[in-house]
């Protein structure tokens, strides 16, 4: 199947980059993959499910601190530590999601923002573990290649999961919740469960990425680990690319990185204002993101290919069991 071949080639290509690129290029690609990954994670809960979160960085920070503590105090190998960071983030997201997802619209958005601020304060106050405002220092990273592979692996996994999600009943359930939660509920969708599943996915991956981030910069402190800026970048990437689409976060992430390297650098003093203007322009003129614009020009196939084929079949033989 050519599709599988294409995916394999893309992965092999991405995996081979460190063999030719120097460390600077690798660093740039690491942050690109990191933010693209965060954008994909945010896309699941906010793009597909429609629960706009300003606080997924909570899980990024939890992952970063978990990994840092495991590496420093228990000398756990860093990939395992990052994975543990993701697992703890996912575990935490169960009760938190159960509470927070009862809220809707602006209540959820502000509630999540509050949650991330609480998390930051806890990192300040829980001195025996986090060392408070001093932060935690990790051993220096000598080889960036492994970090690169790890981040790209996570980002690729997220692309894969999103692609599966986009073509699944689960994905449709999430979209139904986004469009009309009450209606979805009436149709017999267990909305609470579906939302919680999406939330956990959107917590696990930032947790893993946070763990990798801690190892990569070898320093974690409350302000940088729970920085709103991290969420902001992911959100803008998704909006720009197209929320609730498979390729949107990737398109947005790459566009944003290019803009950052080319444009921001030329206008250093209005860098944040340009960022803000980009948000407004996107919302006003590109509400469906670049992915939609590309699709209209035929550069990108429409989403949910499998479901579309399924729907286009002459007639179902019998109702598929749920």
């Amino acid at each position: 199947m050519p599709r599988a071949l294409l995916v394999g080639l893309a992965l092999a290509g991405a995996g081979a980059v460190p063999l030719v690129a120097n460390n600077y290029v690798l660093s740039v690609l690491i942050s690109l993959a990191m933010f693209t990954g965060l954008a994909y994670a945010w896309n699941i809960i906010s793009g597909y499910t429609g629960y706009l979160s300003f606080g997924q960085v909570t899980f990024f920070g939890v992952g970063a601190y978990t990994a840092a503590v495991l590496i420093i105090k228990l000398h756990v190998a860093w990939p395992l530590a990052a994975l543990a960071g993701g697992l703890l983030a996912a575990l935490l997201s169960l009760p938190l999601g159960w509470i927070m997802l009862r809220l809707r619209g602006p209540y959820f958005a502000i509630g999540m923002l509050g949650l991330s601020r609480i998390a930051e304060r806890i990192a300040f106050a829980w001195e025996p573990v986090t060392d408070g405002g001093r932060g935690l220092y990790l051993p220096p990273v000598l080889d960036l290649r492994a970090v690169y592979w790890a981040v790209v692996l996570v980002a690729a996994a997220l692309v894969g999961i999103t692609s599966l999600l986009d073509n699944s009943r689960f994905g449709l359930r999430l979209l139904a919740i986004r469009e009309d939660e009450g209606g979805a509920d009436n149709l017999g969708i267990n909305t609470t469960l579906a939302k919680l599943q999406a939330f956990v996915l959107s917590a696990f991956f930032p947790g893993v990425l946070g763990g990798i981030y801690a190892w990569h910069v070898s320093y974690v402190d409350p302000v940088t680990a729970f920085a709103t800026q991290i969420d902001l970048t992911a959100i803008v990437a998704v909006l720009l690319g197209g929320a609730g689409t498979v390729w949107g976060p990737l398109i947005g992430g790459v566009t944003l990185s290019v803009l950052a390297e080319v444009l921001w650098a030329r206008f250093p003093f209005i860098h944040t204002a340009l960022f803000g203007a980009l948000v407004i322009v996107t919302v006003l003129f590109l509400p469906k993101g670049l992915a939609d614009a590309f699709r209209q020009r035929g550069w990108l196939a429409p989403g949910r290919a499998f479901l579309r084929r399924l729907a286009a079949r002459p007639a179902p033989l019998e109702a598929a069991p749920e």
Binding site: Y24, G132, G133, Y137, P140, V141, Y219, T224, P268, F269
Partner: protein, 395 residues
């Protein structure tokens, strides 16, 4: 099409040849000093002083005939006040640009991230604006500190309090890396010298209300209040002390109380308040007055401690390179470890780890709208006006 391609290659080859052969012959192959500075983001405004000091230092070195007989140039990138970006840029400076010397960024977190990169490539980095002492407890070798170490930020307060026979001392400090080192250091010293520590608490940055904490400290009747603060909290702690009618005999409000905005924000209530500062234009260090003059002439504004500290750090770096006599990083590191130098910023002397041990803060007091240096005694410009009169007795 193909012909043009060949022509291009030929021109490029010629240019490379010219660059390769002509430059060293004319002796103009410069020493490149690389750094990343926060030109955007939350640290950008202060960081311009660092950049200007770097440029002034380059001018001064070149005016003296350069370093090791070669001119010096600067290569600077913007780290957006972000440690991750900073690390990325130091990779670029060392790997792509192959700079000869590496100078530090502005701020401790960015320095921390960058130092890991430098350690990997065994490049000495003089980091003039890195404060956190923990940076020098990681077993790194190539990171050199020139700023006042946090543990020596506030120690002058103890002497000043004891001179006036004060007995009890309370601490309230921002929860940051530097102040988590500075506060225990001065508390230990106070205890050792016979002051009683009655309260010691940390608050998160951005706290908007100290009334509860100050109510407690007032009830404990502390003679000395040490606020480990930066600008907003320095102003707030003094203003709320007055609101609560709490009159410590000695009110010290940290580095944040040494800036002119502190006095503007409080007006007369800033009188008698003590502050710590890394540097003052009136300090009698060698070359200090000339530095202030040149900085003002070139940039049209007064230098601050960020500028002076950066300049002083580069003076130490320069002395180290001259002493080593080459750009060999290990020789420079050894020379920097052996130096005991008086820069415009104060004494430079590092421990084995590269952490600063020579430089202390000065303690100043607002007297009649002006900052007067009280401590150390050698550079004092006025006598301490202590104990401070109670709020009720001021007009």
């Amino acid at each position: 099409m193909r012909k043009r391609w060949y022509a291009l290659v030929a021109v490029a080859a010629l240019a490379a040849l010219a660059a390769g052969t002509l430059s060293p012959a004319s002796g103009q192959n410069p020493i490149v000093v690389g750094a990343s500075i926060s030109q955007t983001g939350r640290l950008a405004v202060t960081a311009t002083y660092v950049l200007q000091a770097y440029q002034l230092w380059v001018d001064d070195v070149n005016a003296k005939g350069g370093l090791l007989g070669r001119p010096v140039t600067l290569k600077v990138y913007d780290d957006k006040s972000d440690p991750g970006t900073g690390a990325k840029l130091y990779e670029k400076l060392i790997v792509d640009d192959k700079v000869d010397l590496v100078a530090g960024p502005y701020s401790t977190p960015v320095s921390a991230a960058a130092s890991t990169v430098n350690e990997k490539y065994k490049k000495v980095m003089v980091a003039p604006m890195a404060a956190g002492d923990a940076l020098w407890k990681r077993g790194y070798r190539y990171l050199i500190q020139t700023l006042t170490p946090s543990s020596l930020y506030y120690i002058g307060v103890v002497d000043l309090a004891l001179e006036r026979g004060l007995k009890t001392i309370a601490f309230m400090s921002e929860d940051s890396e530097a102040l988590r080192v500075a506060t225990p250091a001065v508390a230990d010293l106070a205890q050792k010298k016979g002051l009683k520590v009655v309260h010691n608490e940390y608050f998160p940055r951005g706290t908007t209300d100290f009334s509860a904490m100050l109510t407690r400290i007032k009830a404990l009747g502390a003679d000395v209040l040490v606020c480990g603060c930066y600008e907003p909290e320095s102003v707030l702690s003094v203003r709320q002390s007055k609101e609560l009618d709490y009159s410590p005999r000695l009110l010290f409000a940290g580095h944040g109380a040494a800036v002119p905005e502190f006095y503007k924000a409080l007006g007369k209530d800033a009188e008698f308040v003590l502050a710590s500062d890394h540097w003052d234009s009136r300090m009698k260090t060698p070359g200090n007055a000339e530095f202030v003059e040149r900085f003002k002439k070139k940039y049209g504004r007064e230098p601050n401690y960020h500028a002076a500290g950066t300049y002083g750090g580069m003076q130490a770096f320069e002395a180290g390179v001259r002493k080593a006599g080459s750009l060999d990083q290990d020789k420079i590191r050894q020379a920097l470890g052996e130096l005991d130098l008086a820069t415009i910023f104060g004494r430079y002397k590092v421990s084995e780890t590269g952490g600063q041990i020579g430089k202390t803060s000065i303690i100043v007091q607002w007297q009649g709208g002006k900052k007067e240096i009280l401590w150390p005694g050698g550079t004092a410009t006025a006598k301490a006006m202590l104990p401070a009169p109670p709020w009720a007795e001021r007009r």
